[in-house]
């Protein structure tokens, strides 16, 4: 197990968003996280990525107990998150965005100056690797298409050299060709022995790339299935609770 959450609880005021959730990902595995709106998926990954602190439960990374007090600590532990809203700074360049928070520095007389040249070079490499084309690495991110921005966000995560990459609805706003690229990228991450947590509404995408699927409902993780051994119907049934209805009805 690369990453394991046990008994996670998270409350917001009187609302219990995560109710004793157990969740784990193995090395080199793509774990899909599915569930209806309000099931707690976003809250769970925000807890994983350090944006929220859990009210109860433990988190283990590569066997060690960890506690993230900020997103920065999660980054430092090797967890890279690509949020649904991408978290890109519109009026900054592609290079700046990819290296935001992890700038390459070159100390001169003890003062850490930005090494723009190194960053630009690395940016070009990353974009090349991902087959993302931008007019120029010095142009502002806000002038780019949805697919390009998704690519930049992924490049940023790739730059982190992370062991666990969390992707929240990466294909939601993309054109068909761009979706392909993202799915190929996820497969490539797996081949590099990296772990991926993928949140998606798109059952097709889930079945194409994931190894296992965790289903969340009402703040609980109600089921974990191996993708090869389940069907879309079963998963959808778990998401919507149809099986509960059937069980109650019988």
């Amino acid at each position: 197990m690369v990453f394991r959450m046990s008994g996670i609880v998270k409350r917001f005021g009187g609302l219990v968003a995560l109710d004793d959730v157990n969740f784990e990902v193995s090395k080199g595995e793509v774990m899909a996280l599915v569930g209806d709106n309000g099931a707690g998926k976003s809250t769970l990954i925000k807890t994983m990525s350090g944006a929220h602190a859990p009210d109860g439960g433990t988190i283990e990374m590569e066997g060690r107990l960890v506690q993230f007090r900020s997103p920065q600590e999660a980054w430092a532990s090797g967890i890279a998150t690509i949020y649904q809203e991408l978290a890109l700074a519109g009026k900054m360049t592609v290079v700046d965005n990819i290296f935001l928070g992890r700038e390459i520095k070159k100390p001169v007389l003890g003062i850490p100056f930005l090494d723009r040249q190194a960053m630009r070079k690395r940016t070009a490499e990353l974009l090349d690797q991902l087959d993302v084309h931008v007019p120029s690495v010095d142009s502002w991110v806000e002038s780019m298409s949805g697919g390009q921005r998704q690519g930049i966000a992924i490049a940023r995560a790739l730059n982190m050299d992370a062991r666990l990459i969390i992707m929240d609805e990466p294909t939601a706003a993309l054109a068909v060709a761009e979706v392909r690229k993202v799915l190929e990228f996820i497969k490539r991450l797996r081949s590099e022995e990296k772990s991926v947590v993928l949140i998606s509404h798109n059952i097709q995408d889930v079945f194409e790339v994931s190894d296992r699927i965790s289903v969340m409902r009402h703040g609980r993780c109600i089921a974990v299935r191996e993708t090869a051994k389940t069907t879309p119907q079963e998963i959808i049934g778990l998401i919507t609770g149809a099986h509960e209805v059937r069980a109650a009805a019988s």
Binding site: Q72, A89, L100, G101, R102, L114, D138, W140, E142, S143
Partner: protein
């Protein structure tokens, strides 16, 4: 949102604020021509250098203000920081302390007050306009506490060579301004700290998600403005040899005006130190020229305010396609 953004890539590639900087240079040239034709004294070296010296404090403070505004915040309390720093400096001189002790003391006072602003804004989550409004009130109270009654005068002008001196053909004041702006530029463009300032101004929420220590950056940026204000206070005392400061929002508003005129976006994320410097130059030249022309200096605020409106309108019209539809 898949907008293509600004449709003048060439100029934008150079710098997003280049057009504003050019416009300011043109404006300065135009008013200078007007003033020169109205008064023979205007274009004399003496006059120009004096004007620059008069604008020293505003220039230094505006550099710091630019960083704060790029970060998406604001500080209306710099007048208070200036006053408190100046009084502490005055008292220190009065107590006989030598300049090499008074100088760091003054800088530290400014930095501390600036950090206070940063703390309230970042840690107590008070919106910058409110926090610096409140702190301005608090600083004015502190000023009265420290001053203990009478204005101080007859202070040593030990640092005045920095203002009045010359290095070859270059006035020392120009070198001071140059050094300050160079420092600010390095911080903004060459250090990761500067990157973070831009990021927070662009989208604070995203900056946090990406792992930037937003609170610390805010406090440090405000502290830097405080530091520069302390520096301005040192030079103010050296120039005027007394501490008769009227605490008020004027210098803060002038600094904000210079920054916005210079192309920095009030919403943050975009800015220009060169623009700010040009904005300061413009304001002080206006002041100087109007006086020389015999026009009451009272018209100055009207002119600056009107210019601000023109500039803001221009910005707003240009951003029309990117604006949310409401």
């Amino acid at each position: 949102m898949a907008s293509m953004g600004d449709t003048r890539p060439a100029l934008r590639f150079v710098s997003p604020t280049a057009s504003r900087e050019l416009a300011l240079i043109a404006a300065i040239i135009i008013v200078s021509v007007i003033f020169a034709s109205a008064s023979p004294y205007f274009l004399t070296v003496n006059n120009l250098v004096q004007t620059m010296r008069a604008g020293l404090e505003l220039a230094i403070i505006s550099a710091g203000m630019t960083l704060v505004i790029i970060m998406g915040a604001i500080d209306v309390s710099v007048g208070g920081i200036l006053a408190v720093s100046a009084i502490v400096i005055g008292k220190a001189y009065q107590a006989g302390l030598p300049v090499y002790i008074v100088t760091p003391a003054g800088l530290m006072v400014g930095t501390a007050l600036g950090a206070f602003n940063g703390f309230i804004t970042a840690k107590l989550k008070v919106p910058p306009i409110i926090s610096t409004l409140g702190s301005m009130y608090i600083f004015s109270a502190i000023m009265f506490l420290v001053i203990g009654g009478a204005w101080i005068s007859g202070l040593p002008g030990t640092l005045s060579p920095l203002i009045n001196g010359w290095v070859g053909f270059v006035p020392a004041a120009a070198l001071v301004i140059g050094a300050v702006y160079l420092l600010a530029w390095v911080v903004l463009r060459k250090l990761s700290f500067g990157s973070h300032i831009y990021a927070i101004g662009c989208d604070e929420h995203s900056a946090r998600l990406v792992g930037i220590n937003v609170d610390r950056t805010k406090i440090m940026t405000y502290a830097l403005l405080g530091f520069l204000t302390g520096l301005a206070a040192l030079l103010y005392v050296a120039r005027l040899r007394n501490v008769e400061i009227n605490i008020g929002t004027t210098i803060a508003l002038e600094a904000i005006a210079a920054t916005i005129l210079g192309g920095t976006n009030i919403r943050g994320g975009v800015g220009s130190l060169l623009g700010t410097l040009l904005g300061v130059a413009f304001i002080r030249i206006m002041q100087n020229g109007l006086v020389l022309m015999g026009v009451s200096s009272l018209w100055e605020t009207v002119i600056i305010g009107s210019l601000l409106i023109v500039v803001l309108t221009g910005d707003a019209l240009r951003n029309r396609n990117n604006a949310r539809a409401i």
